[in-house]
């Protein structure tokens, strides 16, 4: 049971499944479906906050005593054993510290991808496999397909509107071989998932949805970063280098951001200005018109392939650049096995170093990489 070989049969079989239960409705329904499918399911709630009592008391699907209680309550209703595993230290090291360091370096990280790669499908999966489990089950909306040769493919969820394959684009073949997403083939609205939860007697049915960043209690990323990195006043300049305003920390900005720049003087052309570039070295934020945001190409590092790696040479894919972003057509090529070079058919906006680019072939997730540099049609590249 601890071998990592992918399974070669498609026949339903009783697996020992560890269901990660956040205390939210999706993971509760996922665990219930896995149990209903006949698997031997054990629920586990990950304690990710080192001081859970200090975190918010609302209901957002992660990190609080209340969420842990909700997850336990759901497990009791489903009728499965339930444990709380303390992965707070790993989470702080691998996700939170990395998140802060990335922002400090002027990049825009996605901590959910990082958590899936390093915590849910690494620390948690490794422990699960060592304890004799066959798979880790989560409430993500994505689909795993097993090929006749036993290899696995990750695909978008049946319902594009809820698809979460983007945040799973970091999973490699071995991780996919042990992943189970019982909500992936659901073509229903969120309301219907809530109805299913209510029908199953899961009182989390009415719980509000979780936000993107579970460890930022109030959703105030800038405040979270300011508290940890301190204020560092610097200039906001335009593309010509003229100082047009000031800021209290370059890390608080994201490329493509328009709101909250607090520039007194309007632009010469009267059009809105956007963050074009963040330079942590000079603590400078560069702003300019929307057209200057157009990215025509990028390079990305740390590629991870979901299943088989791409064939050599440039190939056409669709790409997704944000968790809830649209698909865009690209040509991508892996150079030296470590760097992904991507050019856009139509220029893309709001592309920031640190973000993940996830490549798709139809509905299949090909892989992902972390954006390192971008090329702009006008103005300087980031």
């Amino acid at each position: 049971m601890t071998d990592d070989a992918p399974r070669t049969d498609d026949a339903p079989r009783r697996l020992r499944v560890l269901a990660a239960m956040s205390g939210g409705v999706d993971s509760a329904v996922a665990a219930a479906r896995a149990a209903e499918a006949g698997h031997d399911v054990t629920g586990v709630h990950l304690a990710l906050s080192e001081n859970p009592k200090s975190f918010r008391t609302g209901a957002r699907g992660c990190c609080t005593i209340e969420d842990s209680h909700d997850a336990r309550r759901a497990a009791d209703v489903i009728g499965i054993p339930f444990y709380v595993w303390d992965l707070a230290e790993r989470f702080r090291e691998d996700v939170v510290d990395d998140f802060i360091a990335e922002y400090e370096a002027g990049r825009t990280p996605n901590p959910c991808l990082r958590c899936n790669e390093k915590i849910k499908f690494a620390a948690l999966l490794d422990k699960a496999l060592a304890l004799g489990f066959d798979a880790v089950c989560t409430g993500h909306y994505a689909t795993v397909v097993t090929n006749p040769d036993g290899s696995r493919e990750l695909h978008r969820a049946s319902d594009m509107a809820k698809d979460q394959s983007y945040v799973l684009g970091v999973l490699d073949d071995r991780q996919l071989a042990h992943a189970m997403f019982p909500l992936g083939d659901t073509r229903t609205t969120k309301a219907e998932i809530r109805e299913e939860a209510a029908r199953r007697g899961l009182f989390v049915a009415k719980k509000p949805d979780s936000h993107d960043i579970c460890f930022i209690a109030d959703g105030d990323t800038q405040g979270f970063l300011a508290k940890r990195l301190g204020a560092a006043e610097g200039d906001i300049v335009d593309e010509s280098g003229t100082v047009v305003g000031s800021h209290e920390g370059a890390y608080g900005f994201t490329i493509g951001q328009r709101k909250g720049l607090r520039i007194g003087r309007p632009a010469p052309d009267g059009k809105p200005r956007y963050v074009l570039d963040i330079s942590p070295v000079t603590n400078t934020v560069t702003v300019g018109p929307a057209a200057s945001l157009d990215v025509t190409a990028l390079t990305a590092i740390r590629p991870r392939w979901c299943g088989r790696p791409p064939t050599s040479g440039p190939a056409a894919y669709t790409a997704q650049l944000r968790a809830h972003g649209d698909e865009t057509e690209v040509t991508a090529e892996l150079v030296d096995g470590t760097e992904l070079r991507v050019s856009f058919t139509t220029p893309a906006r709001g592309v920031a170093p640190g973000q993940a680019i996830v490549l798709y072939d139809g509905t299949r997730v090909v892989g992902s990489a972390t954006i390192a540099t971008t090329e702009r049609r006008v103005g300087a590249g980031a």
């Binding site: 601890t2 031997d40 054990t42 304690a47 859970p52 842990s68 054993p81 444990y83 709380v84 595993w85 303390d86 992965l87 790993r90 620390a123 422990k127 060592a130 304890l131 004799g132």
Partner: protein
């Protein structure tokens, strides 16, 4: 199911169920003056006399509470407040560091909110307080001691404290000593009168009685300041309508426990010895927690630490095979933390994370022990491969 978590709670005895259900349909508030009230009062007082007899106490020394936690809080806080009120110099609280959280947290609350100075008494590697340590602590300044509290037997590692000797020391200095005897009652000869204790906590559901009922045995010389104020029941120390059915059942369980105590000590003690042998044979590096001398530990307790294992992993793997035990006290079993009891005995935090407590009880059988014997080896091996997260 192999249930080996009797220290958390043990199945209710048929005698207790019968005593309880017989009273559930009877109306009457034991404080009322009419016939229904008199009938309830008679039931309560007979139960009080019975429980007092089971514990070597006078009926007037039995103060019913809603459980062990409440009795511990009443003893620790109530005696502290009363002793300090009588002499403001008395603010020092002497406590063993291996107490249950009901005592531990009450003591810490006094330090945080009521100006108490807490002195944790030293313990040996079995978690035992030596009478000389108590003597040294009191003698340093007998005038400023509010109270001392040392449990009769430990809920995690089963170590029995020298209660009579400790009590003799406290009495010599006129310091009230409280003992949490929740785990000791039913397993050891618990004689409140002979012990010389000022106060002693017992709980029904650990001896086959119902949940939600306990008692503080309270020497007649002591009048702790109440934690709960109200109608003035129970010597004006613990207000609240008396729970007649639960009290009747508590007394029934107490009678059974005392009548069968020697048999329990012999038979369950022998099963426990077999269990320890079996675990040691299957996992030779397992470290037995508490006193290895059977006379020094509760007859129903077996506690182990398994190097390189996470207690939660062991629990999960045994649970999956239908074996129910605990990593320690159920109250700390949310996010796993190394037990304060084990740390106090000098165990390393890493080793203290890999613990299992097997606690036997009146329904335990040789089959339960052989189920553990068969399962434990592979379980430890597997948990070790999962490591410490």
């Amino acid at each position: 199911m192999v249930y080996l978590d009797h220290a958390a709670t043990t199945p209710m005895l048929p005698e207790a169920v019968q005593a309880m259900t017989a009273q559930l349909t009877v109306t009457g508030n034991a404080s009322s003056l009419h016939a229904a009230g008199r009938r309830a009062r008679r039931t309560v007082e007979e139960a009080r006399e019975s429980l007092a007899a089971s514990l070597g106490a006078r009926p007037s020394e039995v103060v019913f509470t809603a459980g062990g936690t409440e009795a511990d809080n009443l003893a620790v806080k109530g005696l502290y407040w009363a002793r300090r009120a009588a002499d403001p110099a008395r603010t020092r609280v002497l406590a063993s560091p291996v107490e249950h959280h009901a005592v531990l947290d009450a003591v810490e609350w006094l330090a945080e909110h009521e100006g108490a100075t807490v002195e944790w008494l030293p313990v040996d590697s079995y978690g035992r307080v030596h009478p000389d340590a108590l003597r040294e602590a009191i003698a340093r300044n007998p005038g400023d001691v509010a109270l001392a509290t040392v449990m009769w037997a430990n809920n995690e590692i089963g170590t029995i404290q020298p209660v009579h000797e400790l009590s003799a020391v406290a009495t010599e200095f006129d310091v009230p000593l409280h003992a949490d005897a929740v785990q000791a009652f039913g397993q050891l000869d618990v004689d409140f009168g002979a012990s010389g204790l000022a106060a002693m906590t017992v709980s029904a559901h650990k001896i086959g009685g119902p949940y939600g009922i306990g008692a503080l045995l309270l020497g007649r010389a002591y009048a702790p300041v109440p934690v709960l104020h109200g109608g003035g029941q129970e010597r004006h120390v613990r207000s609240g309508t008396l729970d007649t059915p639960a009290i009747a059942a508590f007394a029934a369980a107490g009678r059974y426990a005392v009548a069968h105590r020697e048999e329990f000590d012999r038979d369950i003690g022998a099963l426990r010895d077999d269990l320890i042998k079996a675990v040691r044979a299957a996992a030779p590096d397992a470290v037995l927690g508490g006193d290895p001398d059977p006379a020094g530990r509760l007859p129903a307790n077996a506690h182990f630490s398994f190097p390189g294992c996470e207690g939660d992993s062991l629990l999960l793997l045994l649970d999956a095979q239908g074996i129910e035990c605990s990593t320690g006290s159920a109250c700390t079993a949310g996010v796993a933390q190394p037990s304060h009891v084990l740390l106090a005995t000098g165990m390393s935090p890493a080793l203290a994370r890999g613990t299992l407590r097997f606690s036997l009880g009146h329904t335990s059988t040789a089959q339960d022990v052989s189920a553990v014997a068969d399962a434990i080896g592979p379980v430890v091996e597997r948990a070790r491969s999962a490591g410490l997260s």
